[in-house]
């Protein structure tokens, strides 16, 4: 692409990013508003954070959400990495088309349908709904995202490295552990992060899969948001946005460094 960065480009980028970030910036600013009125500034205060931390219902929901997210994203990473390996390396087997269909379908499936289907399954096998059913539901839809991320890395890496390990006497499992896994590790980690945030964020599927006793944070936020804007929700949102921003920036710095190191090692190996 021949590049001449024009005024038009600068304006559209500026307006675009203002549109993307202004609503969240307003939200963050007004979480420090001392007034209960969310659109009138009445001075700086951190009292909504205090009230939030004293609100047991929110804390309980946050704990449930965190538990679900850790369990489901870990399970999803294991299953999704296996699925990616099967898709890219296992060659032909009976029902391969169905398998890849089942990997890609949840990505485009409306959440209401996935949620409804899951709930009807849990009811027909007589499973009590609660944390465990949310974990199962989240694992199923997030493992597909993990396998897409991991398989895109598996496709690009040199298969001969694995074959060399096998020729040198490694068992397939050893070859996977000592050759493949270190190479695809960044993709596995970003797959886990993706699954984790998808699970933290999910409202619809959790609403279907949750029982009356287990409420996740998005469900709690949703029910209070329906009553309108509240400064407590603003404070909670600010905390969540802050955590995600720090997490994403750290992750991208770490992966940038590991890519740079990998490149340096490859260059050193080529020179030797």
């Amino acid at each position: 692409m021949n590049r001449r960065f024009s005024w038009f480009n600068a304006t559209s980028l500026t307006l675009g990013f203002v549109f993307l970030y202004l609503p969240m910036i307003i939200l963050i600013i007004f979480s420090f508003n001392s007034s209960k009125l969310v659109t009138v500034w009445a001075g700086f205060s951190t009292k909504w954070y205090g009230e939030l931390l004293g609100n047991k219902a929110f804390l309980d929901a946050a704990w449930v959400t965190l538990k679900v997210a850790v369990l489901s994203s870990t399970l999803a990473t294991v299953l999704g990495t296996m699925a990616a390996y099967v898709l890219v390396r296992a060659g032909r087997f009976a029902g391969r088309t169905l398998f890849s269909g089942m990997i890609y379908a949840p990505l485009v499936m409306p959440e209401v349908i996935t949620g409804l289907a899951m709930l009807l399954l849990f009811i027909s096998i007589g499973m009590d709904r609660g944390v465990s059913t949310i974990v199962l539901a989240h694992t199923t839809f997030t493992m597909c995202y993990v396998s897409v991320v991991v398989s895109s890395r598996l496709v690009t890496f040199d298969k001969s490295l694995e074959e060399a390990a096998l020729d040198l006497g490694c068992t397939p499992f050893d070859a996977f552990r000592s050759v493949t896994l270190p190479i695809i590790a960044p993709a596995v980690i970003s797959g886990w992060l993706l699954a984790f945030t998808l699970s933290l964020d999910d409202l619809v599927i959790a609403s279907f899969a949750a029982g009356p006793s287990s409420t996740t944070l998005p469900m709690k936020i949703f029910s209070s948001v329906r009553l309108g804007v509240s400064p407590e929700i603003n404070a909670l949102s600010t905390l969540m946005i802050g955590i995600v921003t720090v997490g994403v920036i750290t992750a991208s710095l770490v992966s940038k460094r590991s890519i740079a190191r990998q490149r340096a090692e490859e260059q050193a190996a080529a020179r030797a």
Binding site: M1, P23, L79, A83, F99, V108, V112, A117, F222, V244
Partner: protein
Amino acid sequence: MNLRRLVLIATPYLWLVVFFLVPFVIVFKIALSDYAISIPPYTPTLDLSAGWEGIKSFFGALDFENFTFLASDALYWKAYLSSLQIAAISTVITLLVGYPIAYGMAQASDEWRPTLMMLVILPFWTSFLIRVYSWIGILSNEGFLNQFLLWLGIIDTPLTILNTNAAVYVGIVYTYLPFMVLPIYSALEKLDGSLIEAAEDLGCSRAQAFWLITLPLSKPGVIAGCFLVFIPALGEFVIPSILGGSSTLMIGKVLFEEFFSNRDWPVASAVAVVLLLILIVPIILFQRNEQKQREANQ
């Protein structure tokens, strides 16, 4: 070796069959059942202990009654049509907003690109629910947008935007914008700059070169972006229920309410089946576009 391979394939395979495929079979089955005041609230239920007779009577009791009900009740087909309309209009708006952003990113210098990329992706990692919620304070009658317009003197009475379809458009455009920008950007990034130079050498103006070269060559990205917005927007539930009003009809919301408020599981399942059938067309078109892209890249 073969046992390992079997375990490797069977574990994710069985998981998806049990937790993804079987649930859909159940949805289809319940869509063909009748509503009943019992637990679970539908008949018939498959009674395997009755043997062959049980299976026969089970299949005999299934019918398409719920689907004829959906077709006869105006609420449902209006909800499908209005979902299609809302999804289509917001896809077009997202394209108009997203293309200049993607184009600007592609024109930016190499040092800036990773930062711009990160700025587009970052909102995607923050909670969807919170991003939708952030618009309530902006769009409401006493919200920031109305205050701003009143201050500018453009309007003298606040506009009603929240709880209308307009707010739903804003919500969809806002939350799905990264899905539109990224595929268009990746198409523009691959574009060979010498083509545009050649066009300009041959007498094209910058605008003509954009219209004749850049736009057609970015078409695959545009198509991918449009599907990535249209498909999830069609079944959207969160945005219409937070930003939309009581007159906003979207099928995702109807399904949710049919299930949780009316507790009519067979009708909710039939609504889901029809939505799936509607979605098959754009999903197949999207897959074809992706396939063509992959072949073109090889």
